[in-house]
Structure formats: C-alpha cells, structure tokens
C-alpha cells in the first residue's frame, strides 16, 4: 500500500522585489556511450545495453560485456527492480541540487542483478518492488527514477517528478494557430490536464468560425491575436504575455498536397513557409529569449516549447512534398533552438504525426491521427518529459524505418510508399 501524497501547491505569484533566479542545470558531462542513454530517454524508451552472449543488461555502459567480453546491443530492458538503499541529500556541492534539497536518491537492484542509482519518487520505500523510468533532467541528460506505483492517483504530486517533466498542470500555455482542429483539441486536453490558463493565438480574427466560438466557450482559454506570418503581431503578443508563457505550442497546420514539379507553385509554398518555418523563427526571436530567461523562475517557470511536426520532416513524402520540406526546415530549426535553449531548463519537444484526420488528407487511406489523439499524446509526452514523441501508427512506423535505414525509407517514399 503506497502512502498518499499531499497535492503540489499551486504556484504563487512572484515577489516582484526578488531577483529571478538564474537557470542552473545538473551536471551534464557524459561519455558518448553515456549520452546514448539520454538519446533513449529523449524518445521515452527504456533501453539498456545487453550482452549478445549472456543476454544480461550492463550498467554503466561499456564497450563489451564485463562478464564474458562479448559485444553489447542496446535493447528494451526489464524495468523492474528492488529498492535496496536510499538516502536524502541535505546539501550538495552542485549548485543545481543545493537549490533543491532535500532530494531523495537510492540504489535499485535491477532484475538482472545490476545496481542502478536512481531518483526516488516520494512513495518509494526500501524493499519495494519498483519500476524504473528514464527521464531527461534539466541538462537534457538521462537519469533513472524509481516508482513503487505508477498507477497511483498521487503520482504527479511528487516535486522530483515535476522537476523532470513538463506537466501542463498549473501552467500557462500558448497555442499558436489555435483555430485549427489540433489547436482546439490541444486547448481541451491542456485544460483537462490542469493547465491554469491557455492563450489561444488567433490569426485573421476578421474571419469568424466555429473553432473560435469553441475556444471562446472554454473557461480556461483566452483568445489572443496572433498571426505567425506577421512579425509585428508576434512581437506585440510577446510584449503582452511573453513573461507568462510556461509552455509554447507551435502549431501551424497547413496541409496542402503536391510536390515540386506538380505542386501548387511558389506562392503557395511561400505561404506555408511563412507560417510554419518563419513563424517558428518569429516565435523564437520574440518568445525564445523570454522563455529562456524564465527556465528557472521558481515554481512558475517556463518549461517547454512544443512543435507539431509531420513525421515526413525526416524523409520527404512526394505526394505532400512541399509540406514535408517545410516541416524538415522546421525540424532543423527546432534542433537549433534545442541547442540555444541548452542550460535554460526549457525543453524543446517535437511531436511527430503522420497524416491527420482532416480535410486536406481526404485522399489518404487510414490510419490517420485524430486531433483529439494528437492532443492527448502531446500532453502525455509533456507529462513524461519526452523530447521526441511519435503519434499514431504511421508516425511510429516511419520513425522506425528512419532509424533502421534512412536511405531505404527515402527510396520507399520515392516509390509509391507512405
């Protein structure tokens, strides 16, 4: 029986006389092998190196199996273990942890007999059978966290878990291009996840539609003027609410079929790039520095920047070739932003989806991702602190093929594939 936890307090308003704390990050030095664990954690996976001969997990990672010197392979690992030791840090030479003590850590004996240092969820006690999860910390480096009950209703009341994730609860969210189906679904899902306030960016407010009315009907939502194609509009909104955006969701859904030769021409492509690619840059120029400066702003900090991307950002799908190209450019910029956000504590998350259940994919066979599912999984990935999330069967399939052999995927897509 797990103990219940008191609810996390809602962030209080900041004392304007106090200095905003500088962003601190936990120690980030890792070997390239160690970084591999971070790359797994970034995608929400629990993979460890395993010996190809004796099949045992190996931790910390090495070049060869310490028992039989056979080669190692990273694969899904059994995440169950026993908490055999725990301690509470009351002080630390690391500035990051000094600010956050007391902090519980412990040793978990993984089922294979491998001891692993882990952060401890508040409900863990010595002797508990625990489940390990990998998370990225504020330095985007993988750490283990142990849970005694992942289904506990109080799971998210743990301050150490909140530090490792980007839970929308109690947070303020800006959704761009919010009048799209994805935008409306995101507003609903964020509300359900406990977001305190949602700013729904609306371009061309002179065009009324059902989506605007749906957004206006939600108590947590404030519609705000925001046109991603207009620099001044982005700057003005940032001036108004830049300091209040804890989670920014860059949604610029504009799906159009067509490629390069048989496409809809430069004018159409330009509009897509203006919104998606340059829209991203406009947001990054205005909101980026403000969010970066607020990455460690006490309990009321900026925490995540989310991009809604097509999985064909990884490899061009010629049937929607222009669309793939714009998303590829945005993915590249998102990687750049991730670099620029390093050390700030603000996570840049990319949510990849295949074709969506919407009008401009009406000639594409299912499976297609509904707006509700897209929104639900994005919220789940924020709660899980992921860097990359692949939503729906098509996105996961394309991602697997991309990871397996990017060239082969390119050739398949250039044929008749999807």
């Amino acid at each position: 029986m797990t103990t219940s936890l008191p609810p996390l307090p809602e962030p209080v308003r900041k004392d304007p006389q106090k200095k905003t704390p500088s962003a601190l990050i936990p120690p980030s030095a890792r070997s390239r092998l160690g970084m591999r664990l971070s790359a797994e954690a970034a995608r929400g996976r629990f993979r460890l190196p395993h010996c190809n001969a004796c099949n045992q997990p190996v931790w910390p990672p090495r070049e060869a199996c310490p028992a039989c010197l056979s080669s190692l392979q990273w694969r899904d690992a059994d995440a169950t273990g026993t908490l055999i030791a725990e301690t509470t840090l009351e002080t630390s030479p690391e500035l990051y942890f000094r600010e956050r003590t007391p902090w519980r850590v412990g040793t978990v004996d993984l089922a294979g007999g491998v001891p692993v240092m882990a952060h401890l969820h508040a409900q863990c006690r010595i002797g508990d059978t625990v489940t390990l999860r990998l998370f990225l910390d504020k330095a985007d480096r993988a750490v283990f966290m142990a849970f005694s009950d992942l289904d506990s209703p109080d799971l998210r009341e743990d301050i150490q878990l909140r530090e490792l994730t980007n839970d929308p609860r109690h947070r303020r969210v800006l959704i761009t291009d919010a009048r799209t189906p994805a935008g409306v679904a995101l507003a609903r899902a964020m509300t359900k996840a406990g977001a305190k306030r949602i700013f729904a960016g609306i371009g061309d407010a002179w065009k009324r539609d059902a989506a605007i009315e749906a957004l206006e009907g939600m108590e947590t939502v404030s519609t705000v003027p925001l046109d991603l194609t207009d620099t001044r509009s982005v700057e003005e909104l940032c001036g108004e609410i830049g300091g209040k955006v804890d989670i920014l969701v860059h949604n610029a859904e504009q799906v159009r079929p067509g490629g390069v030769m048989a496409g809809r021409g430069i004018a159409d492509a330009k509009q897509l790039h203006e919104k998606l690619v340059f829209g991203f840059m406009r947001l990054a120029e205005s909101f980026g520095p403000v969010m970066r400066s607020r990455g460690a702003d006490g309990v009321n900090a900026a925490t995540a920047w989310v991009n809604l991307l097509s999985v064909y950002a990884h490899a061009n799908w010629p049937a929607y070739g222009q669309h793939s190209a714009a998303h590829a450019a945005t993915l590249s910029l998102a990687q750049c932003l991730r670099g620029e956000m390093q050390g700030s504590g603000v996570r840049v998350m990319n949510a990849f989806a295949g074709p969506l259940e919407q009008d401009w994919h009406d000639q594409v066979l299912p499976p297609k991702v509904t707006a509700d599912r897209l929104a639900r999984e994005i919220v789940g990935a924020l709660q899980g602190g992921q860097q990359d999330v692949y939503i729906g069967d098509v996105a996961r399939d394309v991602a697997e093929r991309f990871e397996d052999d990017a060239k082969l995927l390119e050739m398949e897509l250039a044929g008749d594939g999807q």
Binding site: D204, A205, W206, K207, R208, P225, D227, T229, D230, T231, R232, S233, R264, G265, A267, D268, K270, Q271, E274
Partner: protein
C-alpha cells in the same frame, strides 16, 4: 525620350493650348491656398487589413507584411528601413484589365502599359449608403444611376464612378462579412456596369468593399459581373476605398496611379481626390 525632348513637347503643348497654362496656374494657386482640398481615399496598409477570401484550394492573395532590414543598429547604424511584401490586390488597390480573363488579350492592359492619361480624371460618387445599411447584399441597378443623373446630370464620358456604401467604416469581421455561404457586401449589378461602360464610357469603377463586385457575385450572371464587364472593356477597378463621404457627387478630380509593375494585374496605391 530625353529631357530636352520632353521640354520641347511641353512647350509645344502650351503654345497649342494657351488656356491650359492658366488652368494649371489656377490649380496650383488653389492647391497652395488650400481652396482646393485633397482628400485621401486610401486605407492604411496594415497587416490585418482584410483581403478577399477565396476557397482554400485556390491560390491566395498575400496580405501586407513588413520586416525590418535595420533600425539604426548593427544591421545598419544610421538608417531604418523595411522590406515589404504583399499581393497586387491587397489593401486599397487598382485592378488592371488583365486581372480578369475577359481583359487578358486587350492592348495596354497591364499596370506598366496602361495610358497614364486615364489615371487622373473627374469622378462621380453615387451615394448608396442608405440602401447598403438596409441590405448587406444591396445591388446597385440602372435605376439608381438614373436617379443620380436626374439629380446631378448625366455622368460625363471618361469619368470615374465610385459607389459609396459606408462600408469603409466597418472593421474586422464586419468588413468581409463572412457567413457560411460566403461574403455579403454590396456592389453593382451586371446591367448597371454594362450601362456605365457602354452608355457612359467610364474610365473605371470603384467601391469601398474588398472587390468591385458584390460579396455574393460568384452567383451572378455572368459571375463577378463588374470584373468581367469592366476589364473586358479595358476599364479599371478601384476597391477598398475610404472617405467617399467627403466627396461631392460630382465635380471632384480623382488621382489613381498604380505602381508601374511589369505585367502587373493590379497594384496597391494611394488614391487622392481634389475637391472644390
């Protein structure tokens, strides 16, 4: 043409028409004394000024956008300037005959080739505010033109005719006035445009709304009659005009010169009126 030739031509013209010298001198005096007033009929080029809404599968006109090149900073220490981008048909703008399929084969049908003599001319303003207030889909017919002429005299040949609706005072959603079946805004009917072109030989026709046609003109016969008839006859269009309520019904002079865009189908422009 060299500068010398231009001077020679101007001198010849003055010799042939000595009265024009006095007319221009009078105009200059009227302008400098402000007895002749200039009214600006132009909306500000704003990023959020509505543009025509077409079904999304069609190509779309780009709205006005402005990006800073430098502002007395590292990108240019002593100067401030912008790059701007916009569609030919954004904001207060001019439609050249080539804009419509009916005018595509006419000579001098583009903004760079049209005769500049036509860009300054007398203007008649037909007040349809009451009718447009009462009915968003008001169509100005020949009867309305007849009533205007009964009061103010026949519309002279080679005039601009502007339809005053008060629409320029509308803002945001009310301007395009979109409903599920499309835009709703006033304009001329086909017979009225045909009458103005064939019976009155106008230079062009202008409106306060986003187009020279009504919002529902796709359902007219022919579709978009003002565009089809005006441009098919080599006449011009002006739309998104403002301040028409400051113009007299007759007697003003309109200045409407589009940018000299190579093969341009239209152009944003500053539209001015000289009023007595």
């Amino acid at each position: 043409m060299s500068a010398d030739n231009a001077t020679d031509n101007a001198t010849d013209n003055a010799k042939d028409h000595p009265d024009t010298v006095a007319i221009l001198a009078g105009l200059a005096a009227g302008l400098s004394s402000a007895e002749i007033k200039i009214v600006d009929l132009t909306h500000r080029l704003d990023p959020d000024f509505p543009i025509i809404v077409l079904p999304p599968e069609f190509g779309q006109c780009a709205p006005f956008r402005m990006e800073e090149i430098s502002r007395y900073d590292a990108r240019g220490p002593a100067w401030h300037w912008h790059n701007i981008s916009l569609g030919e048909h954004a904001g207060t703008h001019f439609d050249a005959p080539i804009h419509w399929i009916s005018g595509r084969d006419l000579p001098n049908n583009t903004t760079d080739t049209l005769p500049v003599q036509k860009l300054v001319g007398q203007v008649c303003v037909i007040d349809c505010e009451a009718e447009s207030d009462a009915d968003d889909d008001y169509e100005m017919g020949v009867d309305k033109i007849a009533a205007f002429e009964a009061e103010h005299g026949e519309i002279p040949a080679q005039s601009w005719v502007l339809m005053r609706t008060g629409w320029s005072r509308r803002r945001g959603a009310d301007y395009i006035n979109l409903r599920e079946d499309g835009a709703h805004s006033p304009g001329p009917d086909a017979a009225a445009v045909r009458f103005l072109v064939e019976q009155r030989d106008i230079i062009g026709f202008g409106t306060e709304t986003v187009g020279t046609d009504t919002g529902q003109a796709v359902h007219s016969d022919p579709p978009y009659p003002a565009h089809y008839i005006l441009h098919g006859a080599g006449r011009y269009g002006l739309q998104c005009l403002a301040n028409l309520d400051q113009l007299p019904p007759t007697g003003a002079i309109l200045v409407a010169a589009p940018l000299k865009i190579r093969q341009g189908t239209g152009s944003p422009l500053r539209v001015l009126a000289l009023i007595p």
